[in-house]
Symmetry: C2
């Protein structure tokens, strides 16, 4: 009889995931959906650049909430406002409210990176899998159903009424699982997200997505710190977690 | 070629489930776990009655929160307080804090009725499945992982900071899905839960669990009103929803 290599024991009970860029490829998913939608209407633009421009309005919009300039609103609202702001630049200001609503919901239909599902389904066997994203609950639920993401819990922004990197978003999410930060691994492709989590006592996993913003991306090309895990894919993270 | 019978079209997008008694059999699950745990310690009691007594403290404990006598605390806290209150009656006041914590978590390990999983997995193909329970998030997540319950979202008490039948618990849960009450079906074995949901505009499904409290149960033996759906099992509900 062969003795299998024993799986490594870890102190972790839950893996908490950043979503946009870490789990799903927002840039190419949006560019594809926009090119199909407008292609059918004989409208042609640089949809990759459109996706990048839309995303570039994300942090400033959340910052107005984080700073207290406005009360908490869910990310769907910010995505729609940002889209409306962007449309004139692409000479698309004639779109109807229904079209704007439909296109805003493209964020609910983002597609995972190729390694995401193989890794997540392995990790789910042993660990609680939660979202710890700035996306709202409906966005996360609809994306999960669209793309077969096997979350046990939707945590992060909306249940905690804040936006990362506000500490309460991380801490209240962990509390909702009845766990402590050292029992949880924050998984993200962004060093600043991991730094915020580490400062609160989380373990951390960097998953490299060096092409998230396209070939000209200069940020997050590698781990900037000695994170608990540093991986090139969710499959490699599953390997390191022994699942 | 055979023409299949077309599936009925419904206006619903989400099915929201009461859990204790509707999805899982708390009475027999608790009685079984207690009898195994204490049997190994040569302690014998009437564990079915113990489970019923524990559950009887549930509504009064929540009422103190609903009435404003105390601030919101999660159900795990109430379950533990109620257990401590009950132990002397069964001459078990010597239990350690660790044992009390472990036994309180028996609520995280409740087992579904036999028809639950076959029904839920069929319903999940077409509908968002959410919990709309007074159980807290960790309880719902751990139970789901223990018993393979395929929830898309954990809603209800903790995310909305209230206890059913407070209207906000139902209304905020629906809002978190980006839906309206008429797009949601409240599924419960308890007429009062359905009445609260119907008053807010939900569709309703009564699933009969005439033995939830054992052979002497007198309440909820049948639908007390013309609910949208009246079923004997989750399989029958799946049939009626055409999935």
């Amino acid at each position: 009889m062969i003795n299998p290599t024993p799986a490594p024991q870890t102190p972790y009970k839950a893996l908490l995931f950043d979503i946009f860029g870490t789990v799903v490829d927002w840039r190419q998913s949006l560019a594809h959906e926009l090119s199909v939608y407008f292609g059918e209407r004989d409208i042609n633009r640089d949809w990759e650049q459109f996706a990048l421009d839309w995303r570039s309005l994300y942090q400033p919009a959340m910052e107005r909430v984080r700073s207290g300039d406005r009360g908490y609103v869910i990310l769907d609202v910010l995505h729609e406002e940002n889209l409306r702001e962007l449309l004139p630049k692409y000479e698309l200001e004639h779109l109807s409210d229904d079209e704007i609503h439909h296109l805003t919901r493209a964020w609910h239909r983002l597609v995972p990176w190729v390694d995401t599902l193989p890794g997540l389904y392995r990790m789910k066997r042993k660990y609680i899998l939660g979202t710890l994203s700035n996306g709202n609950i409906a966005l996360m639920v609809n994306m999960a159903r669209h793309s077969a993401l096997p979350w046990d819990a939707i945590l992060g922004s909306e249940p905690t009424q804040g936006y990362k990197p506000q500490p309460e978003v991380y801490l209240k999410s962990v509390e909702m699982l009845g766990l402590t930060p050292p029992e949880c691994v924050m998984v993200a492709a962004h060093n600043n997200d991991l730094a915020a989590a580490e400062a609160l006592g989380f373990a951390t996993a960097f998953v490299k997505r060096a092409n998230e913003y396209g070939p000209n991306q200069t940020t997050d090309q590698q781990a900037d710190s000695a994170w608990t895990f540093v991986c090139d894919s969710m499959i490699e993270l599953a390997d390191e977690l022994g699942v």
